[in-house]
């Protein structure tokens, strides 16, 4: 609002909620509103809440703009754009006292709110012969005016975002714009305007950056958008996009790609991941690279398909029979999603191990600003010093005969692909010798198991060179919040507000023990904040000799709002 509420972390400029029935374009409205505020130079974040319903259920987005980097939503909002009455009923408690509500003129009389502005939406649409779905465009027009945005900016964004019936949309927006007057002024900020993308898009771009050749998938919320996105740009990037018959086929086909030397990634959620676990174990044994994007949502089973959770950490760490190294990172925002997807793919190929990017619905489907500078260069890290057997080119430089599982110091064998003139490449799901031939010999078995597990040690060492544990250094260094994944946003912001330290391990396997230890220096009280019922990260760190003494858990599928988390943290540290 105009009179900004100064907060410790920087002024919160505006929180806008747009809501309506599924299918009414709420999501698209959220994006347009977000871009609008983003273009004014604000740091923007969009939280999206929608049910597993194609039409009719209630859905809403909260667009938040602030001066500083944010990645969380507030409970409280300044503006409600109510595409239907239910939106107002469900969310009116969020509206600040001085907040405003835009609604259809016919609802105006019904909504008892003093600052409700009725827009003659139906009338305008009728006059413009516009379909009902343009209600939201019209309302966005009105909103732009209310907060004093120049129509040309809105028009630019509309033209960018609405590729169908663009002219009519612009017209309808203009009509909405003209129905109201400026209520408050949002001053543009003089700072760099950053891209605004979803976590899923960041993952997709990261994979391409990491050298992706093929994305293989079967649709499953919340990773389906990666499939859609990459399918859309596959022509430009020269990617194979395969939507196959089921998740078993997905991972096995991807492993076929890997065998033939092409970098493949797959994406799924819990149920599909279950079906991939046998292939995951095969990747472990055959030493085939593969990257799995595993998007969490509340379970067990089908659960709440379109909501969020952090319940698969331990499952992902232990999935698949037998013991084999895997890389697992849980990025906390778009830059991390990009960086670790790219680096994860590289790691998978350098170490010939499966890599898992553990995402969740909130990370995947929220919009985040993307700061190139913060994202870092996923190619900067030298994963393995040459002499220790770094060798992932087809030209193995070795004397023939080629042996796929040649024993080396780091356990990493030369990786070649067919056709290899004069060489034979055998991979095997059975225990095998260096040439890839089946064995049941006890000594051979031990040697090969050690070989594979050795790679984890080298990987852990290599990862020492990059930041695997993020911290926010609050004034109070004795009290710390522990978080992972999409909880980074709320925790960092609450930590900043309350002056607490915040610790967020991004890499969860191999566990960055040293960096975690270092982050804990001076911390007396560690509170884990997680979207699950059993504090999975809290349990995991016990394996490495650390312990959280408090836990703030949430299991309703919704992310922490800042207010909610702040209150709980205050309670926990009291």
């Amino acid at each position: 609002m105009m009179k900004e509420t100064p907060t410790k972390g920087g002024p919160d400029t505006l929180s806008v909620l747009v809501g309506g029935k599924a299918g009414a374009g709420v999501d698209r409205s959220g994006t347009i509103l977000g871009k609008l505020l983003n273009r004014l130079g604000y740091r923007t974040f969009i939280h999206r809440d929608y049910p597993s319903i194609i039409r009719g259920g209630h859905t809403f987005s909260i667009i938040r703009a602030a001066k500083d980097r944010i990645a969380a939503h507030r409970e409280e909002v300044d503006v409600i754009l109510a595409l239907d009455r239910e939106t107002f009923t469900l969310h009116q408690h969020r509206l600040k006292e001085e907040g405003i509500c835009l609604c259809d003129a016919r609802e105006k009389t019904v909504l008892p709110h003093p600052r409700a502005f009725g827009i003659p939406l139906a009338e305008i649409l009728r006059e413009e012969k516009a379909p009902a779905v343009m209600t939201n465009t019209c309302m966005i027009g009105a909103f732009a005016k209310t907060i004093g945005i120049d129509f040309t900016l809105l028009e630019t964004i509309l033209r960018q975002e609405l590729r169908k019936e663009t002219e009519l949309n612009v017209k309808v927006a203009k009509r909405g714009y003209e129905t109201v007057k400026e209520v408050l002024t949002i001053e543009p900020l003089r700072q760099e305007i950053l891209p605004l993308i979803t976590g899923n898009q960041a993952i997709a771009l990261g994979l391409v950056k990491g050298g992706l050749d093929a994305y293989v998938s079967y649709p499953m919320t919340p990773t389906t958008p990666i499939l859609h996105y990459l399918a859309g740009v596959s022509g430009d990037f020269g990617l194979d996009i395969l939507h196959l018959e089921n998740e078993i086929s997905v991972i096995l086909t991807a492993l076929g790609y890997a065998y033939a030397g092409k970098r493949a990634a797959v994406g799924t959620s819990g149920g599909g991941f279950c079906l991939m676990t046998e292939g995951l174990s095969l990747a472990g044994m055959a030493e085939l690279p593969i990257l799995i994007v595993m998007g969490q949502r509340p379970g067990p089973s089908t659960g709440l398909p379109t909501y969020s959770a952090q319940t698969e950490l331990l499952f992902a760490l232990h999935a698949g029979q037998g013991e084999f190294p895997r890389f697992l990172a849980a990025p906390g925002d778009a830059e991390e999603a990009y960086y670790w997807s790219a680096l994860g793919l590289r790691i998978s190929w350098e170490f010939q191990i499966p890599a898992i990017i553990l995402s969740d619905k909130d990370l995947g489907e929220s919009f985040y600003n993307f700061d190139r500078g913060l994202a870092g260069d996923p190619e900067a890290l030298n994963l393995l010093p040459e002499k220790e057997g770094r060798n992932s080119s087809a030209n193995t430089g070795q004397d023939l005969p080629y042996r796929r599982y040649t024993l080396t110091g780091a356990g990493i064998s030369p990786l070649a692909f067919p056709p290899l003139a004069g060489g034979i490449i055998k991979v095997n799901s059975y225990e095998h010798d260096e040439a890839g031939i089946t064995t049941e010999d006890p000594r051979q078995t031990m040697v090969m198991q050690e070989k594979r597990l050795r790679k984890a040690e080298y990987l852990a060492r290599a990862l020492e060179a990059v930041k695997t544990v993020n911290t926010y250094e609050g004034e109070n260094q004795e009290m710390a919040l522990l978080c992972w994944g999409s909880n980074k946003g709320p925790c960092f912001e609450v930590g900043r507000r309350l002056g607490l330290k915040v610790i967020q391990p991004v890499v969860l396997n191999p566990f960055p023990t040293r960096q975690f230890q270092q982050a804990l220096t001076g911390v007396k009280k560690l509170i884990t904040v997680e979207n699950n019922a059993t504090a999975q990260l809290g349990r995991l760190i016990r394996n490495y000799g650390f312990q959280a003494c408090g836990q703030i858990l949430k299991t309703d599928g919704r992310p922490f709002s800042l207010e909610e988390l702040e209150e709980k943290v205050k309670g926990a540290i009291a």
Binding site: V208, E245, S249
Partner: protein
């Protein structure tokens, strides 16, 4: 260049008399000859994929590129390899439990998509490596170890199923007739598209049907494999013991047609994937990275 040695020094542990031996030998001959023709396929361009079962051991016995996959998953692996590099000649070896049971769906989808690979089924009509349970093609009433009183379900006719699924090449061979297997394998490999060869492979230990087959098999002649109805008729001529209450019941002597039963031309998946869907591969990593930046710049 010296000739490629197709043999490995691995001890063969199939039972003496197993139908997998002639199958292996025939495959070896065919692959050897592949490297000798006019437009030869070099051994390094061959990739074998195997499932888990007695059949799978074949890849240990052949000194060729191979992917020893997991039970039931020959097809998706073979699909991935072929799509990743269409220049490779990919040949799958699967068991009846493997391909018609555990992983049947993949087989049908490989046919539907017309993936340009060859799949050879070691159809011994029993789960051998797990010591003798009934399989998807065991006759009704088969007394396997999981069904001592007789299996309660009729067999699938895999060729009929795959015909319905859209396969473009279907053939049946018999492990005791290597010459015919050789011809079939050759044509199957030559075929542009999905080729499935169902080999009646004798398992001497758990389902010794050698005599039973020997008395019934014949090679199709005057048969036009391009004719769908003729193909269907031939395929349905023998029902794998669906109605007989057990192979060898001997009530009436069915005849078992062998040979190439169906064949047609159709676009393969890798070619269909190309036009719209990317695969330009021309896209260099530099090009891609520039594109990423452009996309980001446009996301404001």
């Amino acid at each position: 260049m010296t000739a490629h040695n197709f043999e490995t020094s691995v001890l063969n542990t199939w039972c003496p008399g197993c139908g997998n031996f002639p199958l292996l030998n025939t495959v070896k001959t065919v692959l050897q000859e592949l490297g000798e023709g006019e437009s030869p396929t070099r051994p390094e361009n061959l990739v074998l994929v195997a499932g888990i079962g007695c059949h799978g051991k074949i890849v240990d016995y052949l000194n060729l590129n191979s992917f020893y996959s997991i039970h039931g998953r020959v097809l998706p692996v073979a699909t991935g390899i072929k799509l990743a590099n269409p220049d490779l000649e990919v040949i799958g070896f699967a068991g009846d439990g493997d391909a018609y049971g555990e992983g049947l769906e993949h087989l049908i989808y490989a046919a539907k998509r017309n993936i340009d690979i060859t799949v050879i089924i070691h159809n011994n009509r029993v789960y051998s490596l797990t010591t003798g349970q009934f399989s998807p093609t065991s006759p009704l009433g088969f007394p396997g170890r999981s069904t001592p009183a007789g299996s309660p379900e009729p067999p699938l006719n895999p060729l009929e199923l795959l015909l319905a699924g859209g396969a473009t090449f279907l053939a049946r061979g018999f492990s005791s007739e290597p010459e015919q297997m050789k011809q079939i394998f050759r044509e199957a490999i030559d075929h542009r598209g999905f080729a499935l060869v169902d080999i009646l492979q004798v398992c001497v230990t758990f389902n010794n049907l050698h005599k039973y087959y020997a008395e019934r098999v014949y090679t199709v002649t005057d048969h036009d494999p391009a004719d769908y109805l003729q193909a269907l008729n031939k395929i349905k001529e023998w029902d794998y013991g669906a109605g007989t209450g057990g192979a060898g019941s001997g009530e009436e002597k069915e005849r078992i047609p062998l040979g190439i039963l169906y064949k047609r031309e159709a676009p393969t998946f890798d070619r269909r994937l190309s036009p719209g869907g990317g695969r330009s591969r021309a896209a260099t990593q530099e090009h891609r990275e520039a594109l990423i930046e452009k996309i980001l710049a446009n996301s404001k």
